[in-house]
Symmetry: C2
Subunit: 457 residues, 2 copies
């Protein structure tokens, strides 16, 4: 039997798509400059057994399998591979359980982050990881990339909320990792090894996620600065002061201008940077945002606004919410994701400005600065080959700068295809060798998302 | 050259101990019923280069190396191996850096948990992991076992506060994992793979630990119940109510009696269980502990005390602080460490009572019940072989019960020698096979703490 015949033999008819007109829609995620192959088939399972069937057939025929969620990723990790199977998990989208006593949710990988977040909130609980894509990205994709978000500065990232996984291995076996309990140290932490492995070690078919009690409504502080350096100094000061922002976002001059051009947000003339912070510490929130505002004022902010209720808080957040749309108006975008120690943020931003000048590109620089995580976004004209080349050179230079400042090439977007060469630089040969051996332990035939994270061969 | 000659060639004289009178003191940790071998030598390095030297020599001669901290562990993971090298890291005890902006501490493995905790507190910060052994256990040991503690119910375990490691591999190379930044997803999470691996994958020589701002002083609620089931129901109710205890400890009837016999704590007559909770939510703490107390009252508590200040809070905690001493008065102890879903705690305790009766042993049962983590402690007479056998049978039955209730054999103490057969039961063959392959990837010669966690061969 052919691969397709064997696949069909264990799947409902509507779970297997083979005509290229339809499979083409599954080739790319949201990354720029990442090649994608033409898949042999797209499989859309609804049950774990179907996933096991796909992996068994794939192993028998040594056919690559690319696990895929909502394709909202920014590194090409979900891009199709030539003659491979795209395994789209979006139809496995059940919330199996929400338990307020154990404070866990048990979910399938295709559940949208927003659907889960709202479902647990209805029961007074909170699933913190909130990537900007939360309305459209799946929990499976969030797990595969160890997604971050805006709340990480206080609550941590996806991995911090994963207790256990059900994973289909490369050979189609069912692996259970971790546990349901709040604590547990039996054996190596395979759960966190698989989280963030971008589909290269196994296919997650079920996850037990930890929840927290819902926080109280947050209050917002917004400060406009003439100088980005002053805004970033405010970040290091407020962290050193022990304030605990539940959000700490920065917009640089290019981003502020793009926002103002997109929609007048009434920002003061001469604003070269915007800092947005929140506190959700209930009765302490008001004094927290006041204290944050006072730090900004002391550092010469042009304007400081401190919300006194949820409505004002939401209004102050508007500028942040339209960043994506405003920046996309400027041209094609190549979004980076470096993270550096907080104290090096000013150097990072100065360096990015220098890189933009050197390579004659425009770089917009919004960032989750509470985590030292910037998203320098190179804006370019896709129709101009010289501009494309300049954009790519600037992108590389920014990663090199991030590493030189003691940081990482990726704070939350992952490696995928986009950064696999840079990963080798960050890890070094010894760590890379261990990565390859771990990959080999889980996937000896190399069929799981080959060429992602680690270069093939 | 002999192994000892080669070791000596790269070490200061005072770092190498070979006379058995001296090395004997390094053979055992605090576990009961765990065999220990007679080591060839004890090495007490002060620098990472010395650790590398030891591993290079050990690799060349295929000599086992047992990394060791304060030997306060409870699973035999630090026990010496016959003709092996004990690598005691207690002299590598420098705090290299405390950074309030990045909220990290960089430390060597021999730093005592208490020393680090106090040092960061002096700078307004908080290193939450607080195993009961915190005054004498080292950070390296805490990392190796992924230690928990009393604050885990709110703040998490050791792994949740580790950002990056410097690790000497089996071959003596220097591996750097993770990062200093708050976020980072470059490659597989080798950091968390090594944390909790009990010295079987590498020797941690430096750690970058995440800190939090110091919490406000906690208030305590103490409730005495006639029935343990009611006390444990109070736990599930207060968690489901979204209260966020920063401590949630339980003492069963045997433990309460042992405490009263040790020192009169003025507990009400007929007290069959004691529940202690805290809140550290600043202005919300008073209403939190009142709400916790109200839940206990509604469940028929004999006595509920709610502290209104730090002094009263500390007084209410006294009973918990003397548990260890009070229980040790009863006889030799074999301490278990099962964790179950919170909703199964009553079944766990009922089952333990039945096991104690069946095997004719006394079991004291204190627990971090907010995490579902119990420490059933079998009390026995070490001089009576029949009693020893009964104790071991009861111990095994408790682990079996924990697994049957959807729990784990170890919430925070680790596997070591004590539970390696039980680990195989918990993991199953597929996970165990992956564990062995990962071990092989890091330690192809099998020299790192052989026979710990995974049975040899």
């Amino acid at each position: 039997m052919t691969v397709l015949d064997e696949l069909a033999a264990g799947l409902p008819a509507d779970a297997l798509i083979t005509d290229s007109a339809s499979t083409d829609a599954y080739r790319f995620d949201e990354a720029s400059f990442c090649a994608a192959g033409a898949p042999l088939a797209v499989v859309r399972p609804t049950e774990t057994e179907q996933v096991q069937h796909v992996l068994r057939v794939a192993s028998a025929h040594r056919v690559p399998v690319v696990p895929q969620g909502a394709r909202s990723g920014l590194s090409g990790a979900a891009n199709a591979v030539d003659r491979g199977i795209v395994l789209s998990l979006t139809r496995m989208d059940r919330i199996l359980e929400i338990d307020p006593v154990d404070q866990v949710a048990v979910v399938e990988p295709g559940v949208l982050n927003a659907v889960l977040s709202r479902a647990v909130l209805e029961q007074g609980m909170y699933y913190p990881p909130d990537p900007s894509s939360w309305e459209l990205s799946t929990i499976g994709g969030n797990l595969a990339t160890n997604a971050g978000g805006l709340c990480c500065v206080k609550y941590g990232v996806t991995a911090d909320f994963v207790r256990g996984l059900e994973v289909v291995t490369a050979s189609g076996e069912l692996l259970r990792t971790g546990r349901r309990t709040a604590k547990g140290v039996a054996g190596y932490d395979l759960t966190k090894l698989i989280v963030g492995s971008e589909g290269t070690l196994g296919v997650i078919t079920k996850a037990t996620l930890g929840l927290k009690p819902a926080p109280e409504a947050a209050l917002t502080m917004a400060a406009a600065f003439a100088s980005a350096a002053d805004a970033l100094s405010a970040v290091t000061r407020l962290m050193a002061a022990g304030l605990q922002p539940s959000l700490c976002e920065f917009l640089d001059a290019v981003t502020v201008r793009a926002i103002q051009d997109y929609r007048d947000m009434g920002l003061p003339t001469g604003a070269g940077a915007l800092l947005l912070t929140q506190s959700d510490r209930g009765p302490r929130a008001a004094e927290d945002v006041e204290a944050m505002g006072a730090i900004c004022t002391a550092l010469g902010a042009l304007d400081v606004a401190v919300a006194s209720d949820a409505t004002e808080s939401e209004m102050l957040m508007q500028a942040r919410r339209i960043v994506h749309f405003a920046v996309e108006k400027l041209g094609s975008t190549l979004i980076d994701d470096v993270a550096v120690p907080r104290a090096r943020l000013v150097e990072l931003l100065d360096g990015i400005t220098a890189i933009a000048e050197e390579h004659d590109v425009v770089v917009s620089c919004p960032g989750h600065v509470g985590d030292g995580n910037m998203h320098p976004t190179v804006i370019f004209d896709r129709g101009d080959p010289a501009a494309v080349e300049r954009a790519q050179k600037a992108f590389d230079a920014i990663m090199q700068l991030g590493l030189a400042l003691g940081g990482t090439i990726t704070g939350e977007h992952g490696v995928g295809v986009l950064k696999r060469e840079w990963l080798e630089t960050e890890l070094g040969p010894l760590s890379l060798d261990l990565h390859r051996k771990i990959k080999e332990a889980f996937d000896p035939l190399g069929i799981l998302n080959p060429g992602k994270v680690l270069a093939s061969g």
